[in-house]
């Protein structure tokens, strides 16, 4: 369950996110779309505690991210747009590290580390140092580290950056699996087909404001007004805002 209420973030005179309100119930797969610089990453960084909002409120699974940050963070897993890891640790050690930060007890942790390694098919290279990984390998380790504590909510920023088709399929399947198990997923992406395939509801943000918010079914209806293509809807909506 994610609640964003009148969320605003300014950097000096520049308003990156302007009065955004969203409510994502448990178990929903939510797509967050928008052109470059629209405010997607800023919104996600506020949700995960990396940025402090200028105003407004964020609650994740009933916990206020500003007032009860530890409780809120314990309930979600985060996959950033750039999968930065500790170069000198192996992938397995990194997942253990993340599990420890989520206060997982040893036996539970070991079991879950093995589970996510299997889920994301990491076994053949997980014991090499991450400095030797490709972008896609790093991305998959980040997914594994976000899933290790079985979060109730998953927040993902651009999940497909640098993934080859097989890795992309593995990641999509793992996300579907998480959703099936009841996790709510908040995903920002540029890949419209992916949003269309996976998401229950979609929001489009442009120039710091939400300009579209509806279900996948209604989006399909919307598409028919154009040429039946989601890309056309996206371009038209963001174009209208630009003009």
């Amino acid at each position: 369950m994610i609640e964003l209420t009148n969320l605003t973030k300014s950097f000096g005179s520049f308003v990156a996110v302007n009065d955004v309100s969203l409510s994502i119930p448990s178990g929903e797969f939510f797509g967050f779309l928008g052109p470059n610089g629209a405010g997607k990453t800023t919104t996600i960084k506020m949700m995960t505690g990396l940025f402090t909002p200028t105003s407004g409120r964020i609650a994740i699974n009933g916990f206020d991210v500003e007032k009860e940050p530890q409780e809120a963070k314990a309930t979600f897993g985060y996959i950033p747009d750039h999968p930065y890891l500790y170069d000198k640790l192996t992938g397995r050690e990194f997942i253990y590290y993340m599990g420890g930060l989520y206060k997982m007890e040893r036996n539970d942790l070991k079991e879950n580390v093995d589970r996510v390694i299997d889920l994301l098919e990491l076994a053949s290279w997980i014991d090499k140092k991450t400095e030797d990984y490709s972008q896609g390998m790093r991305q998959r380790v980040t997914f594994a580290s976000a899933f290790v504590h079985k979060p109730r909510t998953i927040i993902i920023d651009e999940p497909m950056v640098g993934l080859d088709p097989r890795s992309a399929r593995i990641v999509k399947d793992s996300l579907k699996q998480q959703a099936k198990e009841g996790a709510s997923i908040f995903m920002s992406t540029h890949i419209l087909e992916m949003a269309e395939e996976l998401c229950d509801r979609i929001a489009i943000i442009n120039k710091s404001k939400i300009i579209f918010l509806d279900t996948r079914e209604n989006l399909h209806l919307h598409k028919t007004k154009y040429d039946g293509n989601l890309e056309s809807v996206f371009l038209e909506l963001t174009k209208e805002e630009n003009e």
Partner: protein, 581 residues
């Protein structure tokens, strides 16, 4: 032309970054200006005071004074040399800029020169400033003309530092060339041993205590030139040439000044040309070799299935445990960390073995106090160097993976305190050992009872000496906590998550500022300790009972400001971790 083109854009980038005009940057720049300016003024007065004090109060004479300068310059030379070597490895062989330039039509020699100069000026800017302030203080005492400063800065200090950098890069290039044939770990061990043995040899040969005792035999004619006491091995070193230039300048022997200056400048030019020739021949091939040196991790230190393994249980809470283990592995698997650590520990051992075996037979209480304080402050300086080198970069070394801390249920403050505890516990214990070892010559005074030097017994030290020794052993850990706090707090304030090289982080502008603040604190400690030390050694000579109130005064004078520094450092350090990431 290509060289100038690249240099132009590097300068442009530097000025654009330095001249950013947001509030934070302005505050930082003003702060830096105040700290650097104050330090320059402080260095001037300190150097002027020390010169006057040693020559007028302690009356060590011009010869001894310049030999001490020579010894300090030796330490300075080795520091620049080693620092340049380690940083050159990163800038020449592990830099994305070099990777990029190698794909462009720029000659290998040009790339080498650009990175070498970049490296030299990056790590030497503050040293020039400090050097000039110290020279001003020295020159002002002797009332020297303007051309002294001009000569010293551009004819002596710059060539001296450049010479150290040239030797560093020549050794590095040769090492990398050999690395294609010989095991790299073996080479590193060899070079570390070589440096350690050279430093040990230098201090054995130029024994400062022996020199003082020899010169003092001629008291009061201690301004004379006692060149016959200088061992031949020392005379071929550039630090000796610089101390000779200074000595002969103040004694108006300009023929000797010209001779030594020419020797220094020509040696530097010769070595630079030699470095260019070697780089032209081997830089690219050694860069290729560097790609095959994947890791300098010591395999035997991998500790598979040990308590350091992430899969093993410990009595710590999960968060503390994984953070400690992560820190351990990051340190062990990063060559620039453990190699530098081993070198510093080895140097420390040499220093301690020399200091603990000193046989001090000095006559005047002032001279005794000076020797005592020099050793005391050098101990603190060593601790500060370790805190700066290993403590300051610790938060920055989270790097771009800092998101893991900010987005998980661990507070950045908790991570900060865990890291701080690791450093402060280690350095705290080390400081007690150092303090105890350096007090051995005072607490365990040897008296030869037989015909052989090893036939000796111990004399019970006086209460005054006990008081001084125990007080320094008690305050040293407090001073250590203060210095680690300062380095840690400001290391967080100036955290740079982009830079991966800990040595470059520890020589950044923020680190330099921190170092300067630490030196101000060190000077303050000297001030606090000077009068009690002199009074206690005077009391010892007159066989008077020590004044135990002195101990309380020392504790209060050091304790109060230290606690304030600790509190401020941690407050600003932890607050800075809450910034937007």
């Amino acid at each position: 032309m290509t060289f100038l083109h690249i240099l132009w854009f590097k300068n442009l980038m530097f000025w654009k970054v330095s001249s950013k005009r947001d509030v934070g940057m302005v505050v930082r720049n003003v702060g830096s200006f105040i700290v650097f300016g104050s330090f320059a003024v402080g260095s001037f007065y300190f150097s002027n005071f020390i010169t006057a004090y040693l020559l007028e109060n302690v009356r060590i004479g011009l010869f001894l004074f310049h030999r001490f300068i020579g010894m300090l310059l030796f330490v300075f030379f080795v520091t620049i040399n080693l620092g340049n070597m380690v940083v050159s490895f990163s800038t020449l062989y592990r830099s994305p800029e070099v990777d990029f330039l190698l794909t462009s039509p720029v000659s290998y020699l040009n790339i080498f020169v650009i990175k070498f100069l970049d490296n030299f000026f990056y790590s030497s800017g503050t040293l020039f400033m400090v050097g000039f302030s110290v020279l001003l203080g020295y020159g002002y005492y002797f009332n020297l003309p303007w051309h002294f400063y001009l000569l010293m800065m551009f004819g002596v200090l710059v060539p001296f530092m450049f010479l150290a950098a040239c030797i560093a890069v020549i050794v590095l290039l040769l090492l990398m060339k050999l690395a294609s044939k010989v095991n790299f770990r073996l080479l590193i061990s060899g070079i570390v041993l070589f440096y350690i043995s050279q430093i040990y040899f230098y201090f054995q040969v130029s024994s400062p205590v022996h020199l003082v005792q020899e010169v003092m035999k001629y008291y009061p004619y201690v301004d004379l030139y006692f060149g016959t006491l200088d061992p031949m091995a020392v005379k071929i070193l550039p630090n000796f040439w610089v101390s000779e230039i200074m000595y002969f300048y103040v004694t108006n022997n300009f023929t000797a000044v010209t001779g030594y200056t020419s020797l220094l400048v020509l040696s530097t030019a010769g070595l630079f040309i030699f470095a260019l020739a070697i780089a032209d021949a081997v830089f690219y091939s050694t860069w290729i070799t560097s790609l095959t040196i994947k890791s300098l991790t010591i395999k035997s230190l991998e500790f598979k299935n040990s308590i350091f393994s992430f899969g093993k249980r410990s009595f710590f809470s999960p968060q503390v445990e994984v953070i400690l283990k992560k820190e351990f592995w990051q340190f062990i698997r990063e060559p620039s960390q453990w190699i530098h650590f081993v070198v510093m520990m080895a140097l420390l051992l040499i220093f301690l073995s020399s200091v603990s075996s000193l046989n001090i037979k000095l006559e005047t209480p002032e001279l005794k106090a000076v020797v005592y304080l020099v050793v005391f402050i050098f101990n603190i300086f060593l601790i500060n160097s370790l805190a700066l080198r290993f403590g300051f970069p610790m938060m920055s070394l989270e790097g771009n993976a800092f998101w893991t801390i900010r987005s998980t249920p661990v507070t950045a403050a908790k991570v900060y305190w865990i890291k701080f505890t690791v450093v402060v516990v280690f350095l705290g214990i080390l400081s007690i050992i150092i303090s105890w070892l350096s007090n051995i010559p005072y607490l365990y005074i040897r008296k030869v009872v037989g015909e052989q030097p090893w036939m000796y017994s111990f004399i019970e030290p006086s209460d005054t000496v006990k008081l001084l020794s125990y007080s320094s052993m008690i305050v040293t850990p407090l001073i250590t906590i203060t210095l680690v706090s300062l380095n840690f707090g400001l290391g967080s304030v100036y955290s740079n998550f982009i830079e991966k090289n800990p040595i470059r982080i520890a020589s950044s502008q923020g680190a330099t500022m921190t170092f300067l603040l630490s030196v101000v604190y060190l000077v303050f400690l000297l001030g606090v300790y000077y009068f009690p030390a002199t009074m206690l050694f005077t009391a010892e000579m007159k066989e008077l009972q020590p004044d135990w109130r002195m101990l309380k005064i020392i504790f209060f004078a050091i304790g109060f400001p230290s606690v304030v520094i600790i509190a401020i450092s941690h407050t600003v350090g932890i607050r800075s971790l809450k910034r937007d990431y």
